[in-house]
């Protein structure tokens, strides 16, 4: 059924549905060339083709090379940085722990110091020390300060 219908259409538009019935084209076209070479020679050939392709473009070979090197370097750099970051992360964690340990130590030591300071008055009392008592004062009423020219000559 389907083939009959196609036949009908093909007749209506000859040369479209049946390319095999068309005459062989004389235009240049890409054909699959079966490789006769193997291994390194194929690679060399491939590279040569890439180089020759680059010559067909407006971009010189050097630019491509620079771009590729740049890309590779960037990727490698990125990898290195990432590795470094991971290393630093470990280092940062270690330093952070160290800081918090030291902070804790400082806190504890400060607390010990505070407690010792707080116990000072009691200890002083146990040793029999007494706060200063009584009053010793000098009454400066009526005292005249020596004049400036006299003080200059006093030695």
């Amino acid at each position: 059924m389907a083939s009959a219908a196609r036949t009908v259409r093909s007749r209506a538009t000859p040369g479209k549905g049946h390319p095999q019935s068309q005459p062989i084209s004389t235009r240049p076209e890409l054909n699959l060339v079966k490789g006769t070479q193997t291994g390194g020679r194929a690679m060399v050939e491939g590279a040569r083709r890439v180089i020759s392709w680059t010559h067909t473009r407006g971009t010189p070979m050097m630019h491509i090379l620079v771009a590729v090197i740049f890309l590779a370097t960037s990727m490698f750099g990125s990898l290195m940085l990432r590795t470094q970051m991971v290393q630093n992360s470990f280092e940062a964690t270690r330093v952070q722990n160290s800081i918090s340990n030291l902070t804790q130590d400082v806190q504890d030591d400060q607390n010990k110091l505070d407690q010792l300071q707080a116990s000072l008055p009691d200890k002083a009392q146990e040793l029999g020390m007494q706060p200063q008592q009584g009053l010793n004062s000098i009454d400066l009423q009526g005292y005249q300060a020596p004049s400036s020219d006299k003080t200059g000559g006093q030695h």
Partner: protein
């Protein structure tokens, strides 16, 4: 013959090969499915597994004295938690050359036990606990058991080195420490298990002291380290603010010693004292003889006596009555009275504390000799409403600005409720109740030339003398201070401070004891030192003192005041007083 075995072998090989290929295809298919279709959700699940919110604990603020000495502070501590299930599976690794870095031993010896017992043996020395007890704690069903609280970081670090990761973990907590815990335990108060202030200044200043925890959300590696660039959210912790008190730890300590000596010397039940700087109205010391440790349950239950104990001020109240009379221009300090030792008014008899012949005293003399009869005579034309008004204006029966927990505002009823006797007893400090804080500020009002200001116990820079109210004129305040100086001169033998003039008033009042009867005695003394340039007001109160010379405030509380006054003058290097030249006559 030679080819007959090849066929089944090839067939088998083919089957095995096919199975392997199918397996590989299945794995490849699964891989492709995960990568192409399920990749995102898998990656998300993985990163969610690694992403853990980390709480960053905020530290509670410190409480400092006026010189920056620490009265309360928080320290990082750990709660040691055990996993009984993991502990049961514990098998110690003996220490050999190969396992040197990851082995278990107790002081170089093998652990000698598996499971919870082994863990307990390893852990016990660091926690200073009994290994049997610890083993018992770890031998329960479940995966979480608290083994020890408030463990110091030092101990936690030594536990970390035991190689018990996965069995024993440490949770960060904090401990509130009070370096001088007994100095003013109830005043400082304490915090509950959640770190919230529940008593004393820890409670009133809780908002200021409490910080805000922060957090970090990031992906972590196996060792708990942050994977770089994975932090999605973070909020730094905000530590609580420090609270600086106006209390001077040195003065507080000395006042407490003086009170304890006074209590022991006069066999009193308790003693308390308030020291207030008259120039700033800051409380320098608020001490009593209680030994409750800050942070303890006792300190949380018992409020500071200086704010909680109420009592009749006794004759100290005369200063307020006389101030009112002078302000209302009913009398001057030099007005002359002929004062017997007892008087009957409205069928109510009033007596002086001691028998004496009829005396020719001025109003200053009545104050000096603390004559109840003289006060009733002088108050003849002093209306009841004014008696009440002046007591109120001086702050009696009014809550103080300190707002300390447990503070009692005393008891001052309105004049309409006063009976015939009470209306006259209020003239000499009986029939109403006050506390040491109110009494101190009432006398500080006179020292401050008649202006009453809010007291403060929290150092708040830039905010001094808030809410100033003029209660009496400057002249009136000066006259009453003059009279009070004459009182102090009367008691030179018991309460003299060498080199300094003192204006003071003493009081003794009967108070209700536990039984309800008036068997208790309150002896008190309020003094302004130096009288000619007021720096400090000191109030000393003793409950039930006994002495061979009597229980009067002048004999018991007076010497304690003198001791404190002398210390204050020495410590703060207050210039010595100039001689007194303007004394108002006390007799005529």
């Amino acid at each position: 013959m030679s080819t007959a075995w090849r066929r089944p072998f090839c067939r088998r090989s083919l089957v095995v090969g096919l199975v392997l290929v199918l397996t590989a295809l299945a794995a490849l298919g699964k891989l492709a499915y995960i990568q192409l279709f399920d990749g995102r959700s898998m990656a998300q699940a993985a990163s969610e597994g690694r992403t853990v919110p980390h709480t960053l604990k905020a530290q509670r603020g410190r409480i400092l004295d006026v010189n920056g000495r620490v009265l309360a502070q928080s320290l990082e501590r750990y709660t040691i938690v055990g996993d009984p299930k993991a502990a049961a599976d514990f098998v110690p690794i003996d220490c050999t050359e190969k396992t040197r870095d990851n082995c278990h031993s107790i002081k170089g010896r093998p652990v000698g036990a598996d499971g919870a017992a082994g863990v307990a043996r390893l852990l016990a020395p660091d926690l200073k606990m009994n290994a049997m007890e610890l083993g018992g704690k770890l031998s329960v069903p479940g995966r979480y058991v608290v083994l020890a609280k408030q463990v110091t970081p030092e101990v936690k670090r030594s536990i970390d080195k035991l190689g018990l990761a996965g069995i024993i973990t440490a949770e960060l907590s904090s401990e509130r420490t009070y370096p001088h815990a007994d100095l003013m335990g109830p005043l400082i108060g304490g915090i509950d298990n959640e770190g919230k202030g529940v008593a004393g200044l820890e409670q009133t200043e809780n908002r200021q002291l409490t910080g805000k925890d922060g957090y970090e959300v990031y992906q972590q590696g196996m060792l708990g380290q942050q994977i770089p660039g994975t932090m999605t959210k973070s909020n730094p912790p905000v530590d609580g603010k420090d609270v600086t008190l106006t209390i001077d730890q040195d003065v507080q300590w000395y006042v407490r010693q003086a009170l304890k000596n006074g209590r022991d010397r006069f066999h009193a039940d308790w003693a308390l004292a308030v020291v207030q700087d008259t120039r700033t109205n800051r409380i320098v010391a608020l001490a009593d003889t209680d030994d409750y440790q800050a942070g303890s349950d006792d300190a949380k239950i018992h409020p500071s006596r200086a704010v909680a104990e109420t009592f009749e001020p006794g004759s100290i109240g005369k200063t307020i009555s006389i101030s009112g009379m002078l302000q209302e221009q009913l009398h001057t300090m030099a007005d002359k009275f002929t004062v017997p030792d007892h008087i009957t008014v409205d069928n109510q008899q009033y007596k002086d504390a001691f028998d004496h012949p009829t005396k020719h005293w001025t109003l200053a003399g009545i104050l000096q000799n603390s004559s109840n009869v003289g006060m009733v005579m002088a108050g003849d034309k002093y209306p009841d409403q004014k008696r009440y008004d002046y007591l109120t204006r001086f702050g009696i029966g009014q809550p103080s600005a300190l707002g300390l927990p447990g503070e009692s505002k005393g008891l001052l009823t309105t004049p309409q409720t006063w009976d015939r006797r009470t209306r006259n007893t209020v003239l000499f400090g009986q029939g109403y109740a006050t506390n040491a804080i109110q009494l101190t500020n009432a006398i500080a009002t006179l020292a401050n030339k008649g202006v009453r200001s809010d007291q403060s116990i929290i150092l708040n820079e830039g905010k001094t003398n808030a809410n100033q109210v003029r209660v009496v004129d400057e002249k009136v305040a000066a006259s009453v201070m003059n009279g009070m100086e004459s009182v102090a001169e009367e008691y030179q033998s018991t309460a003299k401070v060498d080199g300094y003039r003192v204006a003071s008033k003493t009081g003794t009042a009967e108070v209700a004891d536990g039984s309800g009867g008036l068997t208790g005695i309150i002896s008190d003394w309020v003094g302004v030192i130096p009288a000619d340039d007021p720096h400090y007001v000191v109030t000393v109160v003793l409950k039930n003192p006994t002495s061979s010379d009597g229980v009067f405030g002048s004999i018991t509380a007076g010497p304690v005041f003198a001791q404190i006054g002398e210390f204050l003058m020495q410590k703060y290097r207050v210039p010595a007083s100039t001689p007194r030249t303007d004394a108002i006559p006390v007799e005529w």
